[in-house]
Symmetry: C2
Subunit: 239 residues, 2 copies
DNA sequence: AAACGTTTGTGCACGTTTTCACAAAGGCGA
DNA sequence: TCGCCTTTGTGAAAACGTGCACAAACGTTT
């Protein structure tokens, strides 16, 4: 079963962009687009065309020179490489505000990550149903994880409980964790961790706002254009 | 009013870490810690000590050799540099599942980003109260933004509506946008954009899970240790 | 006042990521 | 079939971020 695939190691920066390409390609396919050039894809993804080509080249030589990429085939290849050929059920730790929101957020299940279980340490929450799933006690997490072969856990607890949640997830056999708490968690070697801190994102934006203000005051109110733009920002014509 | 501050441009990677240091320093201060070394801070932040020192050096020379950094003073300096000396009210576009969750999530207001307004295009939602704020119509966004001098907007709409939301935010005078939709938005030059796509984070983890499986199958089930760890991951002893 | 141990601040080398530039390769029309 | 136009795939350069290693600086102790 060893094809011509996955002999290369894909850079982390590329792995982070492949899901973006995947979504765009899927949308275009649904609208009837059968072929796309790196330039078109780059435009929609908000990145450089050369970057798109280099990113895609890690999957193999799947484009046709002078023509572009077959959308359907590329969708298949990216899904394959990202391991999205089947669903990955996730278990959510924490049935509070954020946990309930994540469980009820369709964007998870729709994209191949159904909520396979929710656990909480609070007996008052255990037994209630959020997002169509019954909340179980944290003590039962191993049972929940093993029953559905779950390998991805989501931490949606307050910061103070995050490390305990991580320890419980790892003990239950989870090997990837997405941490929504503001706390940095410690896990054994070999466990993958992703982190999303909503407040941090806003603080980064606040910094840029602050700079705008400083720049305007510092010099004599010169043009506000030409400021640096962070992250995945974009400018120019619209879609 | 030009002090010794902000003459340097702070690298984006550093800006993304400063909020993490800030939270840790704040917690330590609350527990009575008055002084910290770069090594201690690095341990808690899960990064290299040299990186901490280099990051902090962009703020100025605020450490004392042989001693470390004064926690309270450093908190003040980071807050100042990030523009967190005052609150930044935000306006949320989209009062659906995600919008309501964000509005109800205390982590926003607690960290200096109170919800100053919520708007939606759906008349059925307008008038209802979520997170203590009354939902107004998207058409009134300019009024909402200007009444409270809001400069940060949060997009919590479905992907299809995200570009319209961004256009409305920019037209209303917002200069920073945090986009939770899966769509890449286009904004005029000079507007800062941050993006959080929950599905993308999970897809990155799926890739690592997939690699674990491929590695185990490809060769004769060799040790699962030594796998690469993405993002802000951590290993070793706990806190 | 001098010697000592500690910790900062930073020059430098290294690795990763981005961007440029162009040869190679495919389709298409004459 | 031949030449032209388009677009890929990728070397090489530039930009960026990370980590090591060490001199300079500080408090403390003698």
């Amino acid at each position: 079963m060893a094809g011509q695939r996955s002999r290369r190691r894909i850079p982390e920066a590329t792995v982070a962009r492949l899901p973006v390409y995947l979504r765009i390609l899927g949308e275009q396919f649904d609208v009837g687009v059968g072929n796309m050039s790196s330039e078109e894809l780059a435009e929609l993804a908000g990145v450089n065309a050369a970057k798109v080509r280099k990113d895609l080249s890690y999957l193999g030589s799947y484009g046709t020179r002078g023509v572009g990429y077959d959308v359907e085939f590329l969708v298949y290849q990216i899904r394959r490489e990202l391991g999205l050929t089947h669903d990955w059920p996730v278990v959510i730790v924490g049935a509070g505000n954020l946990g309930q929101a994540l469980a009820g957020y369709n964007g998870f299940g729709d994209r191949g990550f159904p909520v396979g279980g929710i656990v909480d340490i609070d007996d008052a929450k255990v037994g209630s149903v959020v997002g169509g799933v019954r909340v179980r006690h944290l003590d039962d997490i191993t049972q929940v994880v093993q029953a559905r072969s779950i390998s991805i856990g989501v931490i949606a607890t307050p910061g103070a409980a995050a490390q305990d949640a991580a320890d419980a997830l790892v003990a239950a056999g989870v090997t990837s964790i997405l941490n929504f708490s503001p706390t940095v968690i410690t896990v054994p070697h070999g466990i993958s961790v992703g982190k999303v801190d909503l407040a941090v994102e806003l603080q980064i934006l606040a910094y840029h706002e602050q700079r705008r203000i400083n720049a305007a005051q510092g010099s004599g109110l010169q043009s506000l254009s030409g400021l640096s733009i962070p992250g995945e920002s974009r400018r120019g014509a619209s879609a």
